[in-house]
Every structure is written in C-alpha cells, then in structure tokens.
Amino acid sequence: MTDAAPGPTQPTEGRAGPDVQVEAAFTCRGLTLGYGDHVVVRDLDLEFPEKRITAIIGPSGCGKSTLVRTLNRMNDFIPSFTKAGTCLYRGVELYDPSLDPVLLRRQVGMVFQKPNPFPKTILQNVTWGPMINGYTGDLRELAVESLQKAALWGEVAARLDQPALSLSGGQQQRLCIARTLAMQPDVILMDEPCSSLDPVSTSRIEELMDSLRERYTIVIVTHNMQQAARISDLTAFLEGGDLVEFGDTDQIFTRPLYKRTEDYVTGRFG
C-alpha cells in the first residue's frame, strides 16, 4: 500500500506503522462505525497484514468487537449498524454490492467470545459449514484434518458422534476453531476467544494459534495484555473510539510512543 503517508488533517497520534512490509489482508481508510447516532469507532486507518497475528487491545466498550465484526460483515444483522469510510479485503470494498457476504464469511472465519458449538455431534459441528457450502471432497477426512489442526483430535477421536455440548469449555472453543479451519479460510477473526476459559485451556489455544501463525491471517481481540504480548506480531490499541497506536507488538509493549498506550499496557489506566 502506498497511501500510508499521513495527510495534513491526520491526527498527530496513532499512525506509527509497523516495520513489516507485507501485503495487507484488510485495509481500513477513514473507517467510522456506529449504531444509530452513536459513533463507536472514528476515522480509523489500519492495515491488517497477511499471515500475521494482529492483536486488538483496549478498554471495554471501545469498539473492538464492532471492528472485527465489520471485517466479515457480521454486523449486517444489526439494523442500527452504520458505517462510513472504506475497508478493503484484498483490494475489494467489503460493502461493495457485488461482494456476497456469505462468500466473504466463508473466507473470513470467526471464533466468538463464548464457545458456541452447534447442538449437534462433534463431527457434524465441523462438517456442517463445508457441507452447506457445497464441499465436494470427503467431509470426514476434512473434519479429521481440521480437528488435528485445532489440536483436538486426540481428545475426540473416539467420540465423534457424541454431542458437542458434552465437551469442556476449552474443548468446545477448540472445536469452534476446528469448525472455522474446516472452511479453509484466509482469515480467522477471534473476539476474546479465551475470556471464558481456564488458564490451561487458554494456553492450549495460544499454542494452537502459534501453530496457525504461518498459514492464516489472524485478528484477535483480547483483554489479556500478556496474551497479546505473547502471541501477536502486531498490536493495535483502541481507546475512546480512536486508534491510539498501531505497531509491532514488541514496540507497543516495550517502547510505546504515547503515554495513553503505556498507561494501558502497564495497567495504569482509569
């Protein structure tokens, strides 16, 4: 992307771009999001690079979920949702009428805050998405492969036909990740995927994300500073509807450019 040079009206804060030079999966320009008259995210300029883990951090209610749910158009189902500015996915405007959101969500998968497996069997959870999207290969093979990638196979191999809701919370969340991987997505959006899990399950999911790092573009919202520092390549810090700072995770956590960022990542805020 060549239009990274800030114009004269750019705010003074918030545009210390990361060092890495890779293609962007998403490019947001002047993106403003809200509900009705209530603006949640203001004039956001941000790129999510390909095959990297980008963490979004910030206090509750700053619009992190609103932002990631925009990236696969899950906000379409909220009537009051409003959007201005542009957000490109591989160069295509997300809200272009020619782009089918169903197709977009096939390629930009999502893992939610609370594990939400379908009330079906473990196997059906993984195969349902590919099935309804007309997958022509062997569904069972695909499911096994996805469960292996999600580091769940060993635990469920013998009980594929049992209800998914009989799994523990951590296992359910890995099942949801397997379900997303089975769609062979480009991007995986994760909205606080560990916030309802115990520390052991959390570290298993972090290991899993580490193993997915090379192959997928991952955007993760997290409240856990250590988690962002451990697993992400880049970090974006949102506060009060603004992107305060965006850069390499190392830099954000060790040499933040702004006092607001430093206060937040060191836990001195409010």
Binding site: N72, M74, F77, P79, V102, L103, R105, R106, G109, M110, F112, K114, N116, P117, F118, P119, K120, W128, G129, I132, N133, C176, R179, T180, M183
Partner: protein
C-alpha cells in the same frame, strides 16, 4: 443458638430467623392449598361426569349416529367430524402460523408497519371466539360460498388460533441464543440455512407447546361453529373437505338442551369421549416434543 463466628459486625444483623421461617412455611401451605383446591374441583367435576355418563359409554355409543331416542343415539358423526376439523385446522394453521412467526422474528425490518402488525396479533388472541364465528360466516360460508363444510370450519378455527401459534412460535424463536445464529452465519450459511438447520430445530419444542395449546382449544370451541350454523343431526360422516359435518362440543351442547333426563347422561358420556380424544392428541404431541428435545 450456636455462634457461627460471624465476625465483629454480627450484632448489626437482626436475623429474625424464627419469623422468616414461619412466613416461609405459611406461604408454602397457602400455595399447596390453592393447588389442591383447583385439582379437587376438577376431580369432583370429572367424578360427576363419569358417574353420569360411564354407563352410557360403549361401542354402540361410539359407532351410532344421532337419534331422537336416547337409547339409540351415538356420537359417531361428531367424533369423526371433530377429527376432520382438527386435522384440517392443523394443516392450515401450523404452516401459516410458524411461517408468519419466522418472518416477523428473522426477516421483517423493524418498521412502524411490522410493529403495528405485532401489536395486532397479540390483541387478536384476546378477541372473543364468537367474533371469529361471525367472520367465518360472512367470509368463508357466504362470500367464498364454502357452505357449512369442513373447510369453512377449519378456516374459521385457523383464524381463531393463528394468533396463539404466531405468538408462541415467536417467543420460541426469540429464545434461541444469538450465538447460535452467529455460529451458523459465521461459517458462511445463508439466512435460510441458518434458520432451517439451527434456529427452527432449537425452537421446535417451544413451537410445539404453542401448537398443542392452540389445537386443544379447537377441540372445545363451540361458539364459532354454532354461529357458522353447523347442523347437529348429521347422518353421514364427511368424506371430503366440502362436506357438511358436526363436532363433539356441538353434539354435547345439543344434548344438554334437551328436557329428557337421559340426554343429560348422553351429554356426560360425550364429554368423556371428548376428554379422552383430547388427552390422546396431547399425549402424541408431548411425545413428539420430547423427541425433538432429546434429539438436540
């Protein structure tokens, strides 16, 4: 009283346990008394009816047509007519009601028009059933010239119970957690796939409960069918939707109007038949609902 080591501020709490416990017990006794009052009244009524009608029950009673002579009168036409009415009404009202609920819950934009519609639907559930009878008479019997037939009765009954079905089905759909919709839409499902594969199965037990309640109402409704002008003496069972018919509550009502004491007993026997049919239908529905519940 033994001290549980409540700490230094224990004296700030006036536990008053004795009185609270007494109140608790009194409340429990009151609730159970009212329960038994209701159930007891029901049993007295049932006992009375059984006592009156049991002797008149029999194969002949079930398989004979109406007659001027109590000893020869039976309930066959009304029984078959009720079954025709129930099946036809269910076939009309369930698809229409559930589809309307799905539209309102899943698709309809929140405009003033849909809110007006919603308000009307809940109000319609409270309209006296005789009004639906007048509507059925004017629209189905006269205007559409469907005569006093099974289809007229079923359409009238459908209009009567649609608000109940729509309201119950909407509640059931609304109770489906949004996270389930997120899950389905998030793997690239269309709205239809999400609704058909996940939302409806999840809501099915609730929808069925509403359907059971609504259909039970059809068994007992008399007023609208009286207004439509269904005949009491029918010497044939219907063989199609366009045929004339009568129903159990009408037959029972007719018998209770007779001065002859024996007809009162026939009415009691008819009530027993009505209750048994109602019970059997509900049993089927409950089993169906349990099956859908354990499946998911």
């Amino acid at each position: 009283m033994t001290s549980l080591g409540l700490g230094d501020n224990a004296h700030l709490f006036q536990a008053n346990l004795e009185q609270r416990r007494r109140r608790s017990a009194r409340f429990r006794r009151a609730c159970s008394a009212f329960t038994w009052l209701g159930v007891g009244t029901l049993f007295v009524l049932l006992g009375q009816i059984l006592y009156q009608g049991a002797a008149w029950l029999g194969w002949d009673f079930l398989t004979s047509f109406a007659s001027r002579f109590p000893s020869r009168a039976g309930i066959f036409a009304a029984l078959v007519g009720t079954l025709w009415l129930i099946v036809t009404t269910a076939a009309i009202s369930i698809p229409v009601g559930v589809a309307a609920a799905i539209y309102l819950e899943e698709y309809a934009p929140r405009t003033r028009l849909t809110r007006f519609l919603e308000l009307n639907i809940s109000n319609l559930a409270g309209v006296p059933s005789i009004v639906y009878g007048l509507l059925g008479l004017a629209v189905f019997v006269r205007w559409l010239s469907l005569e006093r037939s099974v289809i007229s009765g079923a359409l009238t009954m459908s209009v009567l119970i649609l608000p109940v079905i729509v309201t119950a089905a909407r509640e059931a759909l609304r109770a489906v957690p949004p996270s389930l919709r997120d899950a389905a839409l998030g793997v690239g499902a269309t709205r239809w796939q999400c609704t058909w594969h996940h939302v409806i199965p999840q809501a099915l037990p609730g929808i069925l409960t509403g359907v059971i309640l609504a259909i039970s109402r059809v068994f007992g409704e008399t007023a609208p069918l009286l207004v439509i002008g269904l005949p009491i003496f029918v010497s044939r069972t219907p063989s199609g939707l366009g045929d004339s018919f009568t129903v159990l509550p009408l037959q029972i009502y007719n018998w209770t109007q007779r001065p002859n004491h024996e007809f009162q007993n026939l009415a009691a026997a008819g009530i027993i038949v009505l209750l048994v049919v109602l019970l059997l239908t509900n049993l089927v529905a409950v089993v169906l609902r349990q099956r859908t519940e354990t499946e998911s």
